[in-house]
Symmetry: C2
Subunit: 305 residues, 2 copies
């Protein structure tokens, strides 16, 4: 099952020429889960060939413009392109007002259902549980209410050993039971233990998205041992005071978060416009947590690799 994330934007509040505000497209089993939607996200999706028609869920972390200003444009384009399938949108309660007032004055009535789910900013909650994934909020520490998102794959079914079942002539109707771990009783009375006919499923993977936030241990437990951690790293550590004032994290601190919470891999992003190149931030995070990568726009990270 696909479980990967493509970076659509990596800048913080003010974009620079080659960096767009925050957005990520998470592909889970060929459906897109869009995380944040900064201005220009629909253009970035065109650029990197992410089909917006395949977005089923959108998650908005908070109401600073660099995390949501592309949303009304994206929804409008989906509408104009004939979308009929619903979209579920998770975000701060006031986001609904912001969207409604703009569609009101543009006299737009969407042709699809926009199911809005207001996020409780005060405590972590499961906000989505479907066949592929469970999504929980992460309470972050920013200047305004802000939540991250933890995507944890569902435990998968066992995988059928095709060679073995064909050798034994197991009827296709039994496959579903085999995948659930049931033993196979052959017509001659022989019992074949499930473990002979199936292999263990892939371990469920977890992806945590943490932006924007002050370094704060309060959310560490929630993101413990994820396979991939995206954490903002707006500044280098020599700007710690500025990071504290603006409720952001330094690259060194992002490395610390990954190290302390036992992440397998770290991506840093949400870079301040002051950094024209990003080596300094990458080196700094790697000095604490070597398995760190930069959130390069257009790059896809397979979660668990």
């Amino acid at each position: 099952m696909r479980f990967d994330v493509t970076i659509l934007g990596s800048s913080s509040a003010t974009p620079i020429y080659n960096r767009n505000p925050t957005a990520q497209a998470l592909n889970i089993n060929e459906r897109f889960y869009l995380i944040d939607c900064g201005e220009g996200t629909q253009q970035q999706m065109l650029r990197f060939d992410i089909k917006s028609s395949r977005i089923d869920y959108i998650f908005i972390s908070h109401l600073h413009g660099d995390h949501y200003l592309g949303l009304v444009g994206l929804l409008s384009s989906l509408h104009l392109n004939g979308r009929k399938k619903p979209i579920t949108l998770f975000g701060p309660a006031h986001l609904k007002e912001i969207i409604d007032i703009q569609f009101l004055y543009s006299e737009t009535t969407l042709h699809f259902d926009l199911v809005f789910v207001a996020i409780n900013p005060l405590q972590s909650e499961v906000i989505l549980d479907n066949q592929d994934v469970i999504v929980e909020t992460i309470v972050l520490d920013h200047r305004i209410a802000c939540t991250g998102f933890l995507f944890r794959q569902k435990k998968r079914l066992r995988k059928i050993n095709k060679e073995k079942v064909e050798e034994l002539g197991v009827p296709v109707e039994y496959y579903s039971a085999l995948k659930r771990g049931v033993d196979y009783f052959a017509v001659n009375g022989t019992v074949h233990p499930n473990s002979e006919l199936t292999n263990s499923p892939d371990e469920p993977m977890a992806y945590a998205y943490c932006s924007d936030t002050l370094y704060n241990e309060s959310y560490f437990e929630k993101i413990a041992k994820v396979d991939l951690l995206y954490h903002e790293a707006t500044f280098a550590h020599d700007m710690l005071e500025r990071a504290n004032t603006t409720h952001h994290t330094t690259a060194w601190q992002a490395g610390e978060v990954a190290r302390i919470t036992g992440a397998k891999k770290l991506i840093i992003g949400h870079f301040s416009a002051r950094y024209k190149t990003l080596n300094e931030l990458l080196d700094e995070a790697r000095s604490v947590f070597p398995n760190t990568e930069l959130a390069i726009e257009g790059k896809t990270f397979v979660i668990g690799t």
Copy 2:
């Protein structure tokens, strides 16, 4: 005096990869007048090196997202980049609400004055009159209230003939009067007619911006004989029915508007996403009005040439 317009976006409602929603930067005497501000306008300004710090006025034609969704992001970036100078924003009355609610929930208090002027959508009015230009609204015919903008340069002062005034030893203190057309009385009593010492100023030029609109003769008089006409041309003429339903113009009709109103030159833009290349639209408009150009993003048109 500079009087030119740079195209920042040329797509209609849904952007395509290489075309952004509508925005134009009009440079009048080294100050920028931004006309419409579709999503991604601030990124386009970075791309084409249009200094957003030099924007003094912003004009929003109507409240369809492809004409204003970049505005809150642009204002936020100006704020974060330390702007102190006021900006005057002209637009539909409800635009103020849309901006206010977003700054309210992001807890943003701009460090500069945003002077909002609500446009009367029902009749043409002078909305700005400064040392360089007079701006009037053009009442267009769209699905929701929409106004175009007519920028007419102020009549300039006469130009001093440097050689002649130096030859006669005219004191510098007289220059300002000479520019206003006053004759020169030399100390020996001789009267030098102003026409001997100065040359006629450049003729004031006019630029009309018409987007979005149905072809409708009601606005033709207002834009008569402009030096440069920008007119939307969302569709080719074989899509006339669709143009009528959606209150847009075809390329053939845009050519007709330029021909009938006596424009000197026409730029067409606001192209539907269905046109991957634009030759068809250009050829069609030129078949009626030969001096037509496409609104190519990044291209600057000097008004009056």
